[in-house]
C-alpha cells in the first residue's frame, strides 16, 4: 500500500488540518500586520479544501485508510460543511478584535475538520473522536469570541454540559462495543458492506442501553430536549458570528453521527428507541417554539428557534431512509437537505448582528434592530430573506426543507409500524411552524415597521456583508432550483440502504482480518433513479 492511496482521498481533511496548524503558527506572531493575514488564510484553506473535494468527486468507498469509509455521505458532508464553512469564515472575518485571531480561525478549521471526519468514520473510536473534534474547538471559540464576563460564563456552561454529554456518549459507545463485539460500523465481506451493529429490533439490553445513551450524548450536539438548556444562555453570551457557527457545525455533525449509527443498526430500532425519539422530537419542537415566544433578545429567540429546528430535523431521522426515493419521501435525505439550508439561513440571521453595532455595543435585542431597514436596506432585506426562510415561507429554501421533512412523514408506507405516530408528529411539526411564525415576524417587524431607537453603525466590513449576502441569496436560488442539492442529499443516503449498499473491498479493520478482501471495488452508480433496486422500507 503506497502512501498516496491513503493520503490523496483525504486531501480535503489534510488541507484543513495543515491550514489550521498554519493559522496557529501565524497566530503566534501577534503583530497587527500579521493578524490581517489570518482570515484570508482561513478563507483560502476552506476554498482549497472545497476545490480538492470537487477534484476528488464522489469517493467510491474503496479508498482511504482503515477506520474511515469514504462514501457519497462523505462527499455531501464535505460539500455542505465546507460550503457553509466558507460563509462562517466570512462572517467571522473581524473576530475577535483582540489578538487571538490566529487561534480563533484555527479552531474554526479544526471544527470543520471534525465534521468531515464524522461523515467518514467507520469505527466507533473514530466517530467519537471526530465528534469531540467538532465540539472541543467550539468551547474555545466561545471563550475567545469576546472579552466579556458573559462570554466566559457562556463558555463555562457550554463546556461542562458538553463534557458531560461527551462522557455519556463514551459510556454509551462502550455498551455498543460490548454488544457488537467490535468497534467497526461496517465490515466488508464478500465485497459487500455488512453492518456490525445490526442487532435486530429485539436487541439485547447492552445494545439498547448503548443506543439510548449514545442518543442522549448526541442530543447535546444537536440541541434536543432535554439537553437543550444551554442553548439560549450560550447563544446570548457568545459573540454573534460564533453563534452562527454553533447553530450549524455541532448540529450537522450530531445528525450525521446519529444517521451513521442508526444506519449501522440497519435502522432496525426497538420500539423503546422509536418512542423515545418521538417524544424527544415533539418536546423539542414545542419547547423551542413556545419558549422563543417569551424572549426579547433576538439571539435568544434564534437560540430557541434552533432548538425547534432540531425538532423538525428529528422527524426526518425518525422516518429514516427510503431506498430509491428523493427527499420528498426519504426522511434522511430530507434531513440532510434541511440541515444544509438551516446552516446558511441561521448564519445569515446572525451575520446581520455581526455587521452592526448600536449604542456602542453589538446588536442584540429587538429594539436594537428597530429601523435597520431605513439605514441599511440591503442588509435588512438579507435578514428578512433568512428569517422568512427560517419561518418556512415560500419563496425560500426553508419552505422546501420543511416541505420535504413533513412530506416524508406523510408519504410513509401504510405498512410502516410507526406510520400513524409519525403522521401525528408531522402534524405537531406543522402546528409548531405556525407558532414559530409569530416570533419570526416580530424580528422582521422590528426591522421594517419601527423607527430607529438607537443609531446603528455598520462595523462588519465588506467580508461580513459578503457573508450575509451569500447566506441569503442561495435561499432564493435553492427555492427555484432545489434539484442539485436534493439529488446530492439523496445520494448521500445510498450507503444506508441495506440492499444497495456499495460494494467495497479493501478497507481493513483491526478486529477481523478475514473480513476484507483484496479485489478492487465496484461501486454502484450514484444516480438513484437508474438503480431500480427494490430497497427495503425502513421498518422498525
Amino acid at each position: 500500500m503506497n502512501v498516496e492511496a491513503y493520503l490523496v482521498p483525504l486531501a480535503p481533511e489534510l488541507i484543513l488540518l495543515i491550514g489550521a496548524c498554519l493559522a496557529l503558527i501565524v497566530g503566534v506572531i501577534k503583530t497587527p500586520r500579521q493578524m490581517q493575514w489570518v482570515s484570508p488564510l482561513a478563507l483560502v484553506v476552506v476554498l482549497a479544501a472545497l476545490l480538492a473535494t470537487w477534484r476528488l468527486g464522489v469517493p467510491d468507498g474503496s479508498q482511504g485508510p482503515p477506520g474511515l469509509w469514504l462514501t457519497s455521505l462523505t462527499f455531501y458532508t464535505r460539500c455542505i460543511a465546507l460550503g457553509v464553512g466558507l460563509l462562517i469564515v466570512l462572517v467571522n472575518w473581524h473576530q475577535p478584535v483582540a489578538e487571538e485571531r490566529g487561534e480563533y480561525m484555527a479552531m474554526i478549521l479544526f471544527s470543520l475538520l471534525g465534521v468531515l471526519l464524522t461523515a467518514s468514520a467507520n469505527d466507533l473510536l473514530v466517530l467519537f473522536f471526530a465528534i469531540e473534534l467538532v465540539s472541543v474547538p467550539t468551547y474555545v471559540l466561545i471563550a475567545l469570541s469576546r472579552e466579556d464576563s458573559r462570554a466566559s460564563e457562556a463558555a463555562v456552561k457550554y463546556f461542562f454540559l458538553g463534557a458531560m454529554s461527551a462522557a455519556i456518549l463514551a459510556y454509551g459507545l462502550s455498551f455498543l462495543y460490548g454488544a457488537a463485539g467490535t468497534t467497526t460500523l461496517y465490515a466488508f465481506d464478500e465485497g459487500a458492506a455488512v453492518s456490525k451493529l445490526a442487532f435486530g429490533a429485539q436487541m439485547g439490553s447492552h445494545a439498547l442501553i448503548g443506543l439510548l445513551l449514545v442518543f442522549v450524548g448526541l442530543a447535546f450536539k444537536v440541541a434536543a430536549v432535554p439537553l437543550h438548556v444551554y442553548a439560549a444562555d450560550v447563544y446570548e453570551g457568545a459573540a454573534s458570528p460564533v453563534t452562527g457557527l454553533l447553530g450549524f457545525v455541532p448540529k450537522f455533525a450530531g445528525f450525521v453521527a446519529l444517521v451513521k449509527i442508526f444506519g449501522a443498526c440497519n435502522w432496525e430500532l426497538p420500539n423503546t428507541v422509536y418512542w423515545m425519539l418521538w417524544v424527544v422530537a415533539a418536546a423539542t419542537m414545542t419547547a423551542g417554539n413556545v419558549l422563543a415566544l417569551l424572549q426579547k433578545n433576538v439571539k435568544r429567540i434564534l437560540a430557541y428557534s434552533s432548538i425547534a429546528h432540531t425538532g423538525y430535523m428529528l422527524i426526518g431521522l425518525l422516518v429514516g431512509p427510503v431506498a430509491g426515493q428523493g427527499p420528498m419521501r426519504d426522511g434522511v435525505a430530507a434531513l440532510f437537505f434541511y440541515v444544509a439550508v438551516y446552516g446558511a439561513m441561521n448564519l445569515g440571521a446572525f451575520a446581520l448582528f455581526a455587521a452592526f453595532r448600536t449604542g456602542g455595543r453589538p446588536m442584540e435585542t429587538l429594539d436594537d434592530l428597530a429601523g435597520i431597514a431605513a439605514r441599511a436596506p440591503l442588509s435588512a432585506l438579507a435578514l428578512a430573506i433568512c428569517v422568512f426562510s427560517l419561518m418556512g415561507l415560500p419563496p425560500t429554501a426553508g419552505f422546501l426543507g420543511k416541505l420535504y421533512i413533513f412530506s416524508s412523514a406523510f408519504s410513509l408506507d401504510e405498512s410502516h409500524a410507526f406510520c400513524g405516530p409519525l403522521i401525528v408528529l408531522a402534524v405537531i411539526g406543522v402546528v409548531n411552524s405556525a407558532i414559530g411564525a409569530a416570533y419570526y415576524l416580530r424580528i422582521v417587524a422590528a426591522a421594517y415597521m419601527r423607527g430607529e431607537v438607537d443609531e446603528s453603525i455598520p462595523t462588519g466590513g465588506r467580508p461580513v456583508r459578503w457573508g450575509l449576502a451569500l447566506c441569503s441569496i442561495p435561499m432564493i436560488v435553492l427555492f427555484a432550483w432545489p434539484g442539485g442539492l436534493a439529488n446530492q442529499a439523496r445520494n448521500a443516503t445510498i450507503v444506508l440502504h441495506d440492499s444497495i449498499r456499495p460494494v467495497h473491498a479493501r478497507l481493513t479493520t483491526t478486529t477481523d482480518a478475514t473480513e476484507h478482501q483484496q479485489q478492487p471495488a465496484a461501486f454502484r452508480p450514484h444516480q438513484a433513479p437508474r438503480r431500480g433496486a427494490p430497497g427495503k422500507p425502513a421498518a422498525p
Binding site: 467519537f128 473522536f129 472541543v136 464576563s149 461542562f160 459510556y171 459507545l173 462502550s174 439560549a232
Partner: protein
C-alpha cells in the same frame, strides 16, 4: 466461591457513572464538576476494558478505545482549567452559580 464475571465490572462502571452524574448535578464548583466528568469517562474506560476481557481472547479494540478516552479526558481537563481561569479573571470565582447573568 464467588467468581467475578462481566456483570461485576459493569456494575462497578455503573456505580462510577451514577456517582459522576450525581457529582455534576450537585457540585457548584467548576473543578468539582470536572471531577464528575472524569468519573463518567472512567466508567466508560472500565466498561471497555471489561468487555475486552470477557468477549473473547485476544481482543484489543476496547483497550485501545479506553486509552483514547483517557487522552480525551486529559485534553478536556486542560481545556477546563483554561476556561476556569478565564472565568476567574472575569468574576474572581469558579462557583458556577455566581456565573448566572445570562437569563431569559
Amino acid at each position: 466461591m464467588l467468581t467475578i464475571g462481566l456483570t461485576h465490572y459493569l456494575l462497578v462502571a455503573a456505580v462510577l457513572f451514577c456517582s459522576g452524574i450525581f457529582t455534576m448535578m450537585t457540585k457548584r464548583n467548576a473543578i468539582g464538576i470536572l471531577i464528575g466528568v472524569e468519573l463518567v469517562l472512567n466508567s466508560a474506560g472500565v466498561n471497555l476494558v471489561a468487555f475486552d476481557r470477557y468477549l473473547g481472547p485476544g481482543r484489543v479494540d476496547g483497550q485501545i478505545m479506553a486509552l483514547f478516552v483517557i487522552v480525551l479526558a486529559a485534553a478536556e481537563a486542560a481545556l477546563a482549567v483554561g476556561i476556569c481561569i478565564n472565568l476567574y479573571k472575569n468574576l474572581a470565582t469558579v462557583d458556577v452559580d455566581t456565573a448566572a447573568t445570562l437569563r431569559g
